[in-house]
């Protein structure tokens, strides 16, 4: 009995145990949030197109996500004849995992219960996970043994590699200004602005604002959201990379897309929008500010999708390589000079 107590009180055990508890809570909160993000998307899309959106299941259609999930569970699992079976089954899981892993480094609030881990390469972990996310779509498209799916997969790998560069470079000015790669410390560095009434969020600095604009554009491309949804362009490629997927495997791709939207929005909040910082709330409730900013950014993603038409493929490459990349590199150089001058005055 005393050995059990000793094990329980061991700091390593305590860390692992509470990390697991937080992971379970955040994962389930995220899955719930994702299903209601789909409801929100349909409602907002409806109102933007002068319809009402789903309103039959439950009050205001609030039980629609449950009905959708139930329907998806009961659908037939279908695997094409010439598909590479193993990779065909792995790809949907790969779509969800990177987005969920990203949440392990996101600080939702200033106190310990709201942070799973605080590692000193948190930003790099996010970039690593977003670069791993390419595999899901590429492999899903390839293993289906379908020409449309393959084209979607190829488009996606070209697109995500192109935009990853600009995204990575647009985050470096934040590293220069805060001097750290830990996401918690980046949020701490934004606590106080130079003037009262102006928060110290990096989006309110000139390089930070440019970086934020680039980051949000590349975020749309990295999550394959419209106007960058060429991998699943339904008017050209039937349904793109997920043409052959059905039932829960298809749902996992859908889930992965929304989880990636949540993850990338959280990172944008941490890097540019001051994380949990906001007035009026005590430290233990400041995660509400984080959630408010997260809702605003997710709304932004939905808003953009139902506003802009899809890019043509050469326009996409032109924007990525000839516009965003030079601007982000120039922004990086300018920030480096500015930080150097500020530190050596």
């Amino acid at each position: 009995m005393s050995q059990l107590a000793a094990l329980w009180n061991h700091p390593d055990f305590q860390f692992v145990f509470w990390a697991l508890v937080k992971i379970v809570i955040i994962m389930h909160a995220m899955l719930g949030a994702v299903s209601y993000a789909i409801y929100a998307e349909r409602k907002i899309a409806g109102h933007m197109q002068a319809r009402t959106g789903p309103n039959r299941v439950g009050p205001w259609g609030l039980f629609q996500p449950l009905a959708d999930v139930g329907k998806l569970f009961l659908k037939e699992e279908f695997t094409p004849d010439g598909a590479n079976k193993v990779i065909f089954h792995i790809a949907p899981a790969l779509a969800v995992i990177p987005a969920l892993v990203t949440f392990s480094v996101i600080p939702f609030g200033p106190t310990d219960p709201f942070q799973i881990t605080n590692i000193n390469v948190g930003l790099l972990l996010f970039l690593a996970m977003s670069s791993i996310a390419v595999y899901a779509i590429t492999l899903g498209g390839w293993s289906s043994n379908n020409k449309y799916a393959l084209l979607g997969g190829l488009r996606s790998s070209a697109q995500m590699i192109s935009y990853e560069l600009s995204m990575g470079i647009s985050t470096i000015p934040i590293l220069l200004m805060s001097g750290t790669m830990s996401l918690v410390d980046i949020v701490h560095a934004q606590a106080h602005g130079p003037l009262p009434f102006v928060p110290g969020w990096y989006v309110f600095t000139v390089p930070g604002f440019i970086a934020f604009s680039i980051f949000m554009i590349t975020a749309l491309a990295e999550t394959n959201r419209a106007p960058f949804d060429l991998p699943e362009a339904e008017s050209e490629l039937v349904a793109g990379f997920h043409t052959e997927y059905s039932s829960m495997k298809w749902a996992l791709f859908f889930l992965g897309e929304y989880a990636a939207v949540f993850a990338i929005s959280s990172v944008a909040i941490v890097l540019f929008l001051g994380g949990w910082h906001g007035p009026f709330l005590p430290p233990n409730l400041q995660f509400l500010w984080f959630l408010a900013k997260l809702s605003a950014l997710v709304f932004f993603f939905i808003w953009v999708r139902w506003t802009f038409p899809r890019f043509r493929y050469d326009q996409l490459m032109h924007l990525g390589w000839k516009v965003l990349l030079p601007i982000s590199v120039l922004n990086l150089v300018a920030t480096a000079i500015w930080v150097y001058v500020r530190n050596n005055r």
């Binding site: 590692i119 790099l124 690593a128 190829l154 790998s157 070209a158 590699i161 032109h318």
Partner: protein, 175 residues
């Protein structure tokens, strides 16, 4: 705890590397290589080289291997062809290099190896990212710059080949 993790990652790395060369399907081989890179990143983490571990995943697993896969899928390679003089030659060269490496390994392992002194952790520095940056821009500045120039030359060459030679006017599709 750390020895267990080391054995786990090392076994994973060896297993993945074996699968890379034993599997017939090039796409599957490439995927095993990705898993090998990730387990190597795990080994770096155990050595407290967290920057290196993350860069390993970003650069190798996230960028280089995606390009590899891209090329394999684009060329639509189904399987290795197993006949012809080329195959025989490759097999001979492979066995030759393998034998040389084996002899070299035996000769090296006959020495008794003593692990050198570990580098002192930096004073008040949390993690080694800053230390790597300082070293790269002071002691290893010359190799660093040479590497960047090499990459720049490769980039210019790629652009030139992509345009189809000197003096060719590039055509933008859709116009």
């Amino acid at each position: 705890m750390i020895p267990i993790l080391f054995v786990g990652f090392a076994a994973l790395l060896v297993g993945c590397s074996l699968m890379v060369i034993l599997h017939r399907n090039p796409v599957t081989s490439a995927l095993w290589l990705v898993l090998g890179f990730v387990s190597l990143a795990g080994l770096y983490l155990l050595l407290q080289a967290e920057f290196l571990a993350m860069v390993q995943i970003i650069v190798y697993a996230g960028a280089i291997m995606v390009l590899f896969l891209f090329v394999i899928m684009y060329l639509n390679l189904k399987r290795d062809r197993e006949e012809g003089i080329g195959h025989l030659m490759r097999r001979t060269i492979g066995w030759g290099i393998g034998a040389v490496l084996l002899v070299e390994a035996v000769l090296l392992l006959r020495h008794k190896w003593v692990p050198g002194p570990l580098a002192e952790p930096g004073e008040g520095v949390w993690g080694n990212t800053i230390a790597i940056g300082r070293l790269l821009y002071s002691r290893y500045l010359f190799p660093f710059e040479i590497t960047s120039i090499l990459l720049l030359v490769a980039m210019v060459g790629a652009v030139l080949i992509g345009r189809g030679g000197v003096g060719v006017k590039s055509e933008r599709p859709g116009e």
